[in-house]
C-alpha cells in the first residue's frame, strides 16, 4: 500500500489502528508529508471595499507569477 492508501484506510476504517503501522509505513507517510508543498488554505477573503481590481494589475500579476 502507498502512504496515501494507508492514510485513506486510517481515515475510513474504524478498526484500522495507526498504532499498528510498521516502521516502513510510518517512514513512507513521513516522507510523503515532507515532500508536500505549503497549502494555501484561504479560498475566500473579504476586501475592505467593493472596488474591483484594475485589469492592468491582473496582467502585471500574471507576468510576475510567470517570472517567479
Amino acid at each position: 500500500m502507498t502512504a496515501i492508501q494507508i492514510l485513506e484506510k486510517l481515515g475510513a476504517n474504524a478498526s484500522f489502528n495507526p498504532s499498528h503501522l510498521n516502521e516502513e509505513d510510518k517512514l513512507g507517510i513521513q516522507q510523503t508529508l515532507s515532500d508536500t508543498k505549503p497549502f494555501n488554505a484561504i479560498q475566500s477573503q473579504t476586501p475592505p471595499d467593493e472596488e474591483e481590481i484594475p485589469e492592468q494589475n491582473q496582467d502585471d500579476e500574471k507576468n510576475d507569477e510567470k517570472e517567479s
Partner: protein, 265 residues
C-alpha cells in the same frame, strides 16, 4: 470562438477535511468519472485525488506571495471554465465543504450556468462541522455566529455575546490588501480591542485546527483572549469564542405568547 460546445459540465465537489474520512460517495464518483479534476485542497488530499483520477490539476499554482487573491480566484474559475467550454466533464474539488468560505466554486457554477452548461455543487463536511464535533459544541444551545475575521473588522457588525462567536481566517485578520499570508501582532491586537467591547480580556477562547490526516489530532488550545496577540496561528486556525453573557428573556414576546396560549390551548 462563436460556437459553444454544450456537452461540457462542471460539478464542484467537497473533499471534506480529513483524508479518507469525509468524502461522500457521490463526490468520489464525480471525481472518478471526470475528464479533468481541478483541485484546491491540502497537497496530501490532492495526492489522494490522483489515485481516483489520472488528470488532477492542482490550483495551488495560482497563489503567489504578494498576489491579490481575487486574481487567484478568477484564475481558478478561468481554468475550470476553459475545460468546460472545451466540452469536458469538469470537477472542481475543494477542501471542506466546497461552498463554504470559497469564492471560486460559486462563481464557476454561476458562469457555467449563464453560458448554458450543466453545473452544480455537492455538499460536504466543512471545518465548522468538525469544530462542533471536536469541541463538543452544539450551535443550537446558545446560537452561533460565524464571521471571517477581516470582514468582522472592516464592517460594523452587531454581535450577540450570549451566543458563540466563531472567527475564521484569524491569521490574516485585518488584511486590506487581500494578498498577505499573515498579518501580525498589531493587527491581532486591534481585533482584540474590537472584541473587548463584548468580552473581557481574560475570557477563554479556543484556537481550533481540524486535522487533514487521521493520524493527527485536532488542535484545541484554550487561551485568554489577551494572549491571542502572540499566539501561534496559521492560515487554518479558527477562533471560537464562547458566550460571555447569559441569554436574556424577551418578556414582551413571552407575555404575548402566553396570551396566544390562552386562546389556542
Amino acid at each position: 470562438m462563436s460556437e459553444i460546445n454544450k456537452t461540457g459540465s462542471i460539478v464542484c465537489v467537497s473533499t471534506g477535511m480529513t483524508l479518507g474520512a469525509h468524502m461522500s460517495p457521490i463526490c468520489r464518483s464525480h471525481i472518478e468519472q471526470a475528464d479533468v479534476v481541478f483541485a484546491a485542497c491540502h497537497p496530501m488530499i490532492e495526492l489522494w485525488l490522483q489515485e481516483m483520477n489520472s488528470d488532477v490539476r492542482s490550483m495551488q499554482q495560482f497563489y503567489g506571495e504578494g498576489k491579490d487573491r481575487r486574481i487567484t480566484y478568477r484564475e481558478m474559475v478561468a481554468a475550470m471554465m476553459s475545460e468546460v467550454r472545451a466540452g469536458k466533464k469538469v470537477v472542481g474539488a475543494f477542501y471542506g465543504h466546497t461552498g463554504v468560505f470559497a469564492w471560486a466554486p460559486h462563481k464557476v457554477i454561476e458562469e457555467a450556468k449563464a453560458e448554458g452548461y450543466a453545473a452544480h455543487m455537492e455538499p460536504g463536511i466543512s471545518a465548522e462541522d468538525c469544530l462542533y464535533a471536536h469541541l463538543g459544541i452544539d450551535p443550537g444551545t446558545y446560537g452561533c455566529q460565524n464571521f471571517e475575521a477581516s470582514q468582522f473588522m472592516f464592517y460594523q457588525r452587531n454581535i450577540d455575546p450570549s451566543a458563540y462567536l466563531i472567527l475564521w481566517q484569524v491569521a490574516i485578520a485585518g488584511d486590506k490588501t487581500v494578498k498577505r499570508f499573515s498579518t501580525g501582532p498589531a493587527y491581532r491586537q486591534l481585533l482584540i480591542e474590537l472584541l473587548t467591547e463584548h468580552y473581557p480580556l481574560d475570557h477563554k477562547v479556543a484556537l481550533y485546527e481540524c486535522p487533514t490526516l487521521a493520524i493527527d489530532e485536532a488542535r484545541i488550545d484554550w487561551i485568554p483572549l489577551s494572549d491571542f496577540t502572540h499566539a501561534d496561528i496559521s492560515l487554518i486556525t479558527t477562533m471560537v469564542i464562547p458566550p460571555s453573557k447569559k441569554m436574556h428573556k424577551n418578556q414582551q414576546i413571552l407575555d404575548r405568547l402566553a396570551e396566544l396560549d390562552k386562546k389556542f390551548q
